[in-house]
């Protein structure tokens, strides 16, 4: 993988944490140009990059992420930021949720979760920050079907929106895979979503549902 962030200390720290978890860090970039150069040289499966990069420190990272998705469809992109915005998340994921992740930088405080997200994005899955999901869940819609879900169903929905696999969700909530599948079935029918599809695809379905008003 490649790590792109304008702070060298953060890059180094993150590289050491990830190498401790048996990832191979092929290169580090301090700006978008260096990142492009590395991408041309190295064959990697994941790029971790900060949204705010030089020179304007606004959304260079976001634009770079979109570019990478376009030119290298098999490379995952995990965007990190000090602030997460559902606006950016939806913009990123609405095209294709595969190989895309968007997390708060602070998520490194829960290392297992963070590494799980890195692994998911690297292998074609998605990772959406829980803050984004909870914001979307709180959005007031005129005809709100989310209100009709039970608390347990809502936490399943949130975990699904974050991009987690069935296995991980069942483990996190302490329920059997069978019970989980029953919950998922109920959620789909209550919200009027098409059942089926891969775990990646359903992130988009759930996010799209949450976005619509």
């Amino acid at each position: 993988m490649i790590i792109a962030d304008d702070s060298v200390l953060f890059r180094e720290g993150l590289a050491r944490v990830l190498e401790g978890a048996d990832f191979v860090v092929a290169g580090q970039a301090g700006n978008v140009d260096d990142l492009d150069r590395l991408l041309a040289l190295e064959s990697v499966s994941l790029v971790i990059l900060d949204i705010r990069m030089p020179p304007t420190q606004t959304d260079e990272g976001l634009l770079a992420a979109k570019r990478i998705r376009q030119h290298y469809p098999n490379i995952g992109v995990l965007l990190l930021s000090h602030h997460v915005e559902s606006h950016h998340a939806l913009e990123l994921l609405s095209e294709s949720p595969e190989h895309v992740g968007y997390l708060l930088k602070d998520r490194v405080s829960d290392l297992d979760d963070f590494i799980d997200a890195v692994r998911r994005v690297g292998t074609g899955g998605s990772a959406v920050d829980p803050t984004v999901v909870s914001q979307l869940l709180r959005r007031k819609r005129s005809r709100d079907l989310v209100d009709e879900l039970t608390d347990r169903e809502r936490s399943v929905l949130a975990q699904m929106a974050e991009g987690r696999s069935n296995e991980a969700i069942a483990k996190a909530l302490g329920i059997s895979p069978k019970t989980l599948e029953a919950h998922i079935g109920t959620i789909y029918s209550k919200l009027g979503l098409e059942p089926g599809g891969s775990e990646h695809r359903r992130v988009l379905a759930v996010l799209n549902y949450l976005r619509s008003s």
Partner: protein, 591 residues
């Protein structure tokens, strides 16, 4: 030029005029085949017309070269050989006096035509518009007499001794031919180019300038016809029966220029009476806004502008208080500054062709003087208000950019360092776990948790100072993001594209403050935010279903918001009642 010198000059001109008339009238008694008595009038009438119009112009506008040129043309016409030389003096054998006269005519006889060319190009201001004009005129002043001189010397000096220097007579006549043709081609070229320029300028001129150029344009007809005259014998135009008669009258048509000039002078005298109408209107009372159109009408210049002098700011401003400057000298605009010894009061800006009607302009300006003083006070107030508004907007913009800077510093500094610290603590914790030091690992876990909370707080602080999403994605996503974080459900409706950043910031902080107030004080259950854009205004409505009680006149929060919105030229309204909750309506201009 002093009055005495002018008087002396005028007397000399009159004397020469009388002499010239005598010379010209001689033809009545001694008619030649080429110049029947009636053709003498061709020179006499335009000659007198130019000379007299020139004298009048001198007496009225002695600073203007137009008068001098017209006097010169008049004298030239009377002394010269006429607009179209009909006979070649070369063939005639005369006595010494006759030869001297012919020689004089050869050298100076056509200068009046060059002066006419000069006049056409500089009318009505009396100065050259372009360098090309100046070069053409000056070169003709040199080329025409010099070639006349060469012609005279080569053709007229009969002394055989000169043959020794200049070769046999036949060679000399060949040289005369070449000189004549070359001069004629250059002369004709200048005329064609010059007339083209005059017509081009007339077509592009402002209405006021066209009016003042009209004598020149009318006189172009006889000039062009006079040039076509010699072609009469050469081409098929002979068939055109009226042509010879037309050519007969054409030199007389040159009178159009001096007559048109005098008519324009008389007209401006007549227009003085329109100043009287202006005074009557003024006595009925006139708003500052009506002054400029009234003056424009009186002076027949729709482009006229009134500028007011603002002593405190030491600059001119228009009625709206916006800074304006006086035109540069020699530009297409002219200015008259009105004032007293204490300094200027106002300035009138008009088309520079109005310079020739200085008396009319001065009289009209004097008539509106008092009204201008009043108007100036109003303009001064407006300008000061404008200044205050500008400075208020600058203050708000400075505060906003300071907020952005602080947010960026937090982001690049504290937040980044704390996250890096978080990583180090993670590494330390992993190390502690590897060395089975569970106590240290637990301590580190506690530190990680506190650090995460600190980061959360820092994040919401940074967001409150200036949300980056506002700059990156605009007002709509920023307000959605605000709503997503609010403990009370917020419904965001409407649509609003990107507008100017300072307008977005103003509306954003109104919405943020209104939502905070609604959460803290309204006791409502839900909030609605609606954004929309219509007819040049972008607006945000924030309403809650709470207990009301918000008032613009109480509490600094709402007043601060109203100030912020007003600083960018917008408005804030508050509607609050016990029954319907509180609604804030903020709108800003968005082009």
């Amino acid at each position: 030029m002093t009055t005495i010198r002018r008087r002396v000059l005028q007397a000399i001109v009159l004397l020469v005029l009388a002499l010239a008339s005598l010379v010209e009238l001689e033809h009545f008694w001694l008619p030649t085949i080429d110049r029947p008595p009636i053709r003498v009038l061709d020179d006499l009438i335009p000659g007198y017309a130019f000379a007299l119009a020139g004298l009048i112009a001198w007496s009225q506008r002695h600073w203007n070269r137009v008068g001098t040129l017209m006097v010169g043309i008049g004298l030239g016409l009377l002394l010269g050989t006429g607009p179209v030389p009909t006979s070649s003096p070369l063939g005639e054998q005369q006595n010494f006096l006759g030869d001297a006269w012919t020689f004089f005519q050869l050298v100076f006889g056509l200068l009046w035509a060059v002066a006419l060319f000069h006049l056409l190009l500089v009318f009505p201001e009396g100065r050259f518009v372009s360098r090309l004009d100046r070069q053409m005129v000056l070169s003709l002043y040199v080329v025409v007499p010099v070639s006349g001189l060469a012609l005279g010397v080569l053709a007229l000096v009969p002394n055989q001794s000169i043959d020794a220097y200049l070769g046999p007579a036949s060679d000399r006549f060949a040289a005369v031919g070449i000189t004549l043709v070359a001069t004629f081609v250059y002369y004709l070229g200048c005329w064609v180019l010059g007339l083209g320029l005059v017509i081009h300028r007339w077509m592009r001129a402002s209405p006021a300038r066209r009016r003042s150029m009209s004598p020149v344009i009318w006189s172009l007809i006889p000039i062009v016809l006079a040039w076509l005259g010699p072609l009469e014998t050469a081409g098929p135009m002979v068939i055109w029966g009226v042509w010879p008669r037309l050519v007969l009258v054409t030199p007389l048509l040159l009178v159009a220029l001096p007559v048109g000039f005098v008519v324009a002078l008389l007209r401006s005298e007549h227009e003085m009476s329109s100043v009287g109408d202006l005074v009557v209107k003024l006595s009925d009372g006139m708003l500052p806004e009506q002054l400029q159109p009234a003056l424009a009408k009186t002076l027949h210049d729709p482009s006229l502008e009134v500028l007011y002098w603002l002593p405190t700011l030491a600059r001119y401003a228009d009625l709206n208080g916006e800074t304006q400057s006086l035109p540069a000298p020699n530009s297409s605009r002219a200015a008259t500054v009105l004032g007293d010894p204490g300094g200027p009061v106002a300035a009138l800006l008009y088309d520079s062709s109005l310079r020739n009607e200085a008396r009319l302009v001065d009289t009209a300006a004097a008539a509106v003087r008092l009204a201008l003083e009043n108007a100036r006070l109003q303009v001064q107030l407006r300008a000061q208000l404008d200044e205050v508004q500008q400075s208020r907007m600058r203050l708000v913009e400075a505060a906003d950019s300071e907020r952005r800077r602080v947010e960026r510093d937090l982001h690049d500094g504290a937040q980044q360092q704390l996250v890096t610290l978080l990583l180090s603590l993670q590494l330390a914790k992993a190390e502690a776990i590897r060395s089975s030091d569970s106590k240290t690992a637990r301590l580190l876990e506690g530190s990680i948790e506190s650090l995460r909370q600190a980061l959360d707080e820092l994040r919401s602080l940074a967001r409150g100072i200036h949300p980056t999403i506002l700059v990156e994605a605009g007002l709509m996503p920023a307000i959605r993001s605000l709503a997503d974080r609010c403990p009370i459900p917020i419904e965001v409706t409407g649509e609003l594209d990107r507008i100017e950043p300072k307008m977005e910031t103003a509306l954003y902080f109104v919405a943020a403050e209104a939502i905070t107030n609604a959460v803290k004080h309204s006791k409502g259950q839900r909030i609605c935010v609606n954004l929309c854009r219509s007819s040049g205004w972008a607006s945000v409505d924030i309403s809650d279903d709470g207990i009301g009680g918000a008032d613009l006149s109480q509490g600094t929060g709402l007043v601060g918001l109203a100030d912020r919105i007003a600083a960018v030229g917008g408005r804030l309204n508050v509607l609050s009642s016990h029954l319907n909750g509180t609604t804030l309506h903020a709108e800003v201009p968005c082009g």
